[in-house]
């Protein structure tokens, strides 16, 4: 038997929705096998990572808190990816957004007022967008590949964070620990559900996803993003400026990553610390693709990836799975998604060897 790939006449809608599910299932199967082979309880690991966070209602609040930044960043990245702008540096923009908001928090320290938190958020969005503006400038002015520039700038952002934590922004009353002061009550996101850790950023992430859906499908701006990504020559023919689109795509991605950054700083962290970059900016790339670059799909994908984070911690504490296991599962998911993607445009055909021989 030979397996042949035969091109479909039209891309399959069913496969478009089915392949992310297939990828998650394949990840579970492969994960169980791999972890069994290296001497762990493979089935148990998969159950801990993928099922326990969903079955345990007490863990749902953690899912929401983890999913929020993934959704925000994923939605922003998807806008860029749709326009064929490959912003890989959301992690750096997330850090810069967090730092910009923290700067406002430190400058307003000791003050009170409802306006402080919105100002911090605006600074966060602006910081992330400005940082994404660097690859946008380099790309439009000198044709520098944004994949490299945005990725490398991530490491610069992390060094800036370390410098600020150990130097100018170090808490004067903090026993020389490299971290900022704790934010005050007016600088911390309120929780929206009493007795939980669910902060205001969680519902905001869902609102942003729905707004992005509307913008991408119903507005001229969304149309522009889609057409520049799908066919640059047609976009120019339709009167869309590709440079402006590159700027818009990077600023949108950077702005939302920066927003996620300040929401994390003003939410779960409540201050800025050197451990702030947790890889959300990179995981959000998986979220964007697993969600098919569609804002609503990204909400679901964000929750699935949040499950792996929460479940990874559970597996670590209960069955002693290494912490890196979470990363392995997340990477497998992207890998299987890219592999199964071929089914959207092709169908698998089994050919008998006899016939193949005839033709040759």
């Amino acid at each position: 038997m030979f397996i042949e790939l035969e091109k479909r006449k039209e891309p399959s809608k069913a496969m478009l929705y089915l392949t992310p599910v297939l990828a998650v299932v394949a990840t579970m199967v492969a994960g169980a096998i791999i972890f069994t082979l290296i001497g762990h309880d493979g089935l148990g690991a998969v159950r801990k990572i993928f099922l326990d966070p969903l079955l345990d209602t007490y863990k749902w609040q953690d899912l929401g808190v983890k999913a929020a930044p993934l959704i925000l960043i994923g939605v922003g990245l998807a806008i860029g990816f749709k326009a064929n702008v490959w912003n890989i540096g959301a992690e750096g923009q997330y850090v810069m957004g967090g730092l910009a908001g923290t700067g406002v928090a430190l400058a307003t320290w000791g003050m009170t007022g409802w306006w402080i938190l919105p100002l911090m958020c605006i600074a966060g969005v602006a910081g992330g967008a400005a940082y994404a503006g660097i690859p946008a400038f380099l790309k439009t002015r000198f044709n520098v590949n944004e994949i490299l520039s945005s990725l490398m700038l991530t490491y610069v952002a992390i060094q800036v964070l370390y410098y600020l934590m150990r130097g100018p922004w170090k808490d004067p009353d903090g026993f020389n620990f490299p971290q900022t002061r704790l934010f005050t009550d007016d600088q911390i996101l309120p929780t929206v559900l009493t007795n939980t850790v669910v902060h205001l950023g969680v519902p905001l992430a869902f609102v942003v996803a729905i707004a992005a859906w509307f913008v991408m499908t119903r507005s001229v701006f969304g149309f522009q993003i889609r057409v520049v990504g799908a066919a640059p020559a047609a976009a120019r023919y339709g009167g869309f400026n590709s440079k402006k689109t590159i700027w818009a795509a990077l600023l949108a991605g950077g702005g939302l990553a920066g927003f996620a950054g300040i929401l994390e700083a003003a939410g779960p962290f409540g201050q800025m610390v050197p451990q702030f970059p947790t890889g959300y900016g990179f995981t959000a790339i998986i979220v964007a693709f697993l969600g098919r670059l569609h804002p609503i799909g990204i909400v679901l994908a964000g929750i699935i990836l949040a499950v792996t984070y929460v479940g990874g911690e559970l597996a670590q504490s209960s069955i002693g799975l290494p912490g890196a296991a979470t990363g392995v599962f997340q990477a497998m998911m992207l890998f299987f998604l890219l592999a199964t993607d071929v089914l959207v445009k092709y169908r698998i055909k089994l050919a008998s060897p006899a016939k193949a021989g005839d033709v040759a």
């Binding site: 119903r218 889609r226 020559a233 120019r236 023919y237 009167g239």
Partner: protein
Amino acid sequence: MSDSVQHRIELKGITKAFPGVLANDAVSFKVKPGEIHALLGENGAGKSTLVKMIYGIMQPDAGEIIWDDEPVMVANPKAARKMGVGMVFQHFSLFEAMTVLENIALGMDGSYSQASLEEKIREVLHAYDLKLEPHRIVSTLSVGERQRIEIVRALLLEPRLLIMDEPTSVLTPQEVGQLFETLRKLSKTGCSILYISHKLHEIRDLCEAATILRGGKVVGECDPREETPKSMAEMMIGGNLKQISKAKTREFGADRFVADGLTVPGEGDFGVALDDICFKVRAGEIFGIAGVAGNGQNELLLALSGEQPSSNANAILLDGQPIAAMDAVGRRNLGLCAVPEERNGHGAVVDFSLTDNAILTARERMGMASSGILKGGVATAYTSKVIDDFAVKTTGPGSLAGSLSGGNLQKFIMGREILQDPEVLIVSQPTWGVDAGAAAAIHQALVDLAENGSAIVVISQDLDELLAISDRMAVINEGRMSKTLNVGEASIDEIGLLMGGVHGDPFATAEMTEAVHVH
């Protein structure tokens, strides 16, 4: 092998299916030694698939290929060449930065020394009276010369069957004449020629037999010398050919669209610069721009449509208003619509629905957007109107542009622009790769639009098309525009010379210039 064989090649019941289409359905025909045999059919009739199987690029699902009276299996192109089949493709595969000799050496199956190969090439050039300099760099050659490289490459293998796929679409009329002489000489040596084309005049001049395909099936055979182009066209489309109705006495208004000293620098090493382009189109007039491919037509379309704005605003005037500095949206709002040559990815986005493709260019003029928000209902209604008015075969406004056949997509694109009721319409290659029925509909739509007072510019490599629909025309050659000719008075020879005559052979061009001027 001697030519005692009855048939050089015979196809018996060749069938080939692709997902959703039966490209060839039990096709059978025979070609005698030394015969020039035409394979006729509209786009999508299955001609290319058929010759790809003869040349071993793909294999038939069923049926037999019989070569010199023996059944054969053609596994790949190398096997085909070994058997004695040569092929000249419509699109050349040449390295622009290398010499003619190097390009030919790369395509040879065996290994030769540079000197012996050059000697062989010169022998072939001499035997067939072809003009080509083996040491020229390919990027400096005209399309006609490039085609000669491919022909020489095929002739070096001493083929006994030469397949030519649409060879004349890129040639001037003079170059076509030269090519035919070469092919006739070749056929006298006993080499059969399988000639694919939809240009019926040429087939009448050249071929002694023809097989007509429609929808993958053989629908007829004929001796082209005893047919008229009209009778063959009707066999091809299986119906009556509609004539374009064009009022004999047409009134033209004032100058609507004027290019006055339009100059654009060439892009990259192989781009063509536009040099001081000047022409005027009156209201109600169709202005044709002829020329061999690659002489600046693409650059001209981009400059006229606004995709490539110019710094000199006065280089293009629309009703007296300078517009050359505006982008495509600005010009469209003033009533200038355009259709580029390439449909896929330029004129339309294949992965988008037809409605989205309508939004692409009609959103401003047809009110599909207000304050940045798209109006889906308006866009769908306009798309449905285009589909109805231009008889686009599709399942509806929601279907993907890529799911339409080339001709249907072209009808949709033309309809999308024409129904915007433009003051000026610029179209490039309006019927390229479009079947005869759709082409007639597109031509009629252009004529009707002109009769309503629009100024239309048609850039085309198809001279017959320009002579049929335009009122005046000019020729573009190496980025320069010729003087304007009145279509009724221009002779084909004169136009051919303006197109560059016989490229790479100044002597032949000079000789022909004299001949024309004697008339």
